[in-house]
């Protein structure tokens, strides 16, 4: 089969981008669009290593100071040439105005920025952070903008993006499609397709139908039920990967009854994780074994999902002071997999005498409830947005983050110390050991029941090649080519 629209790459996505101002949002759909338009100073390669991008050369002057040298002759979509001023302006703006992404680049210290020459500049961080360069790869955080364009567009910048990337924005019908057009003065390898269309098709089965009919070249998030259909279709190719998110059931460790470690362990042991994951995801997820998803650096791949042991669970339950079980509430939001997971957990906990009431909450109310510390058990997911394990475990388990993303309100001096240390230890064996240690500790103290690491499936026409899905959800679609 050949393409119905040879000049255009049509990609079906689930959501539309919110804005194309990188510092104003932090959502996957926007990042995915921005990845086609913008570039960052540094990027991640397929193995998850940080590599140069707009910056040709990166030197770590000292623990807190980095010196970047920009590529020469990089032009923006508006014809301006990339300079150190643009880069510094961008990072400063991210820190000052980019409330959505500030937590990613949070350690930056704009006071310490220094322009060396037109292409060279220094950036300082407040403390020595080993995850800093990884953070700069984030498409919400590390994108370099053109100062002039931003200032000219003012509040409307989100709709008049100017980047250095391979495509520039041609038109955008909100909620429907974004049309991109090849940037002919692109400094890198020019993409093959003169045009790219990012279409919004919320309904999963329709994405598949349009893929089958050839109206769409690549479809994101093929539903677990359509996976076999796409696989069986000889015109199509299925690509899967495991994303960096972990779905978990958290305990509110800050108050009774789940401030009781034994109780948490008991409940963990009562749940048949592999069985549940199989039932809920139908083969499109792996049982999770720890807080760091398998494709994030320093994830301990030797770990196994926790084993079900009803007898031991009951014993622990009795030891925790609940020989006759207890009644508890489990929160989830309306995502079907989470509700399904909750339903199965409910059935399983019944076996050790724990009666679970499920409450499905609307997302905004859910977050508010977590913030107000009204929760007991809750199911949610955490995505490691940058290729550094610090992002996976620090915001979620450090006691300083209680009231923030540490929804389990877990505070443990030992774990705190390890987390603090690991984030400043330079990459290497020592850091790896620290993170292995952290993973063990968290499994033992059981603030979470680690449930699943989702596989994400992408469907593609088999006349295409060169699409490498990224576990972070923003993909280098400009690399896609026609098969020769």
């Amino acid at each position: 089969r050949t393409s119905k629209h040879p000049d255009t790459l049509v990609v079906a996505t689930t959501y539309d981008a919110k804005t194309l101002d990188p510092y104003m949002t932090n959502d996957v759909a926007s990042s995915n669009a921005m990845r086609q338009i913008y570039e960052t100073l540094v990027a991640i390669d397929a193995e998850g290593n940080v590599v140069p991008s707009l910056a040709e050369k990166i030197d770590r002057v000292d623990g807190k100071t980095y010196r970047f040298t920009l590529k020469k002759g990089v032009t923006f979509h508006n014809g301006e040439t990339l300079t150190a001023d643009d880069a510094l302006y961008s990072l400063k703006r991210a820190y000052e105005r980019g409330a959505s992404v500030r937590h990613i680049l949070g350690v930056i210290d704009p006071a310490g920025f220094k322009k060396i020459d037109d292409l060279t500049f220094e950036v300082k961080t407040k403390e020595a952070m080993s995850s800093f360069l990884a953070a700069l790869t984030h498409f919400g955080g590390g994108v370099i903008l053109n100062q002039k364009a931003v200032e000219a567009a003012g509040d409307d910048y989100g709709f008049k993006p100017v980047g250095t990337g391979p495509y520039k924005l041609a038109s955008w019908k909100k909620g429907d499609r974004m049309e991109l057009e090849r940037f002919e003065a692109y400094h890198g390898t020019k993409p093959e397709f003169p045009k790219m269309v990012l279409r919004v098709i919320p309904e999963a089965s329709n994405r598949t139908i349009e893929l089958e009919s050839g109206d769409v070249d690549i479809s994101f998030e093929v539903s677990s039920l359509d996976v076999s259909r796409v696989k069986a279709n000889k015109n199509l190719e299925l690509l899967t990967l495991v994303d960096t998110a972990t779905t978990y059931m958290g305990f509110n460790c800050s108050k009774a009854p789940y401030d009781n470690e034994k109780l948490r362990q008991a409940l963990t042991l009562a749940i048949n994780i592999p069985g549940s994951v199989k039932a809920v995801f139908r083969g499109n997820a792996f049982p999770a074994y720890g807080p760091i998803a398998p494709n994030v650096k320093y994830s301990n791949n030797d770990l196994q999902p926790s084993k079900t042991d009803i007898k031991k669970a009951k014993k622990l339950l009795a030891e925790a002071g609940y020989p006759n079980g207890l009644t508890t509430t489990l929160w989830t939001n309306s995502k079907k997999v989470r509700v399904d997971m909750a339903t199965i957990i409910q059935a399983q906990l019944k076996k050790i005498g724990v009666t679970v009431k499920i409450q499905v909450l609307e997302w905004g109310a859910y977050l508010q409830g977590l913030k107000d510390n009204k929760h007991e058990l809750f199911i949610v997911g955490w995505t490691c947005q940058t290729p550094d394990p610090d992002m996976a475990v620090f915001p979620t388990f450090h006691s300083s983050q209680i009231g923030g993303n540490n929804f389990a309100a877990f505070g443990d001096a030992e774990v705190d110390a390890l987390l603090d240390k690991a984030r400043i230890t330079p990459d290497g064996a020592e850091r790896k050991a620290l993170y292995f240690d952290i993973q063990d500790k968290l499994r033992e103290k059981a603030p979470w029941v680690f449930l699943a690491n989702k596989k994400i499936a992408y469907g593609m026409q088999n006349y295409l090649e060169g699409f490498t899905p990224s576990p972070y959800g923003f993909h280098a679609l400009y690399e896609v080519k026609m098969k020769k």
Binding site: S205, A347, I358
Partner: protein
Amino acid sequence: MQTKKNSLWGQVFGRLKKNRMAMMGLFILFALLLTALFANVIAPFPFDEQDLFATLEGPSSAHWFGTDEFGRDIFSRIIYGSRISLQVGFVAVGFSVMAGGFIGAVAGYYGGRTDNILMRLMDILLSIPQLLLAISVAASLGPGLLNLMLAVGIAAIPQYARLVRASVLSIRDQEFVEAAVSVGSSDLRIICRHILPNCMAPIIVQATLGVAFAILIAAGLSFIGLGLEPPTPEWGAMLSGGREFIRDYPYMTVFPGLAIMITILGLNFLGDGLRDALDPKLKN
């Protein structure tokens, strides 16, 4: 005096009895009621019994309507679901009919400024998205079946209010209303005893269809924290739950859809019959 009480209803029923469709409707509703009452006797399986080794099976002799993604027996869930769905449908519609009916009656009866204010309030209510309304109800009153029904009910109030207002306007000027005033009846008494019972025909048409909408809307709301905790079976929720399976396992949605349809069918047959039986113009 002879005891011939309720002879109006007796007569209405007499007329209904001669209407075959209405009797069929009545029979269907009665059967549904029995199903709901004796769900635990009829259903072959408990509604929440999971069998992870027998998920998504098509209809068979063991599972008449097949099984869902957790291996639960769909037939049993539909049987049990009748309890909740009928409750949701009837209570929500009952609530909106009563509230809407009352508002419409007051607006129509007093007319003038009262009418204007109440009807503008109804316009306001109509413009508020159901989702926002539901979230607010959930937020201020908490989750649960009752509040769910309330949220569904509130949203439908304006429709009934308008309908009743229109009927009241035509009844308000009848002399029996004036007669009631002349003997000193209070306004409330007049509205409740003299006016409302006389404008039931259009409400019946609307309400019989309204039950279907209530069930379907309630299903949508159970996913924003207003509804019923899983695994409580409910037709509308089963319908929406089967959505992603529809291409491969259509029976997951066909059966709850049929259940809703049969209910509505029964209601409409009965409603049509009732409407005709109550219509004074059709009386001898």
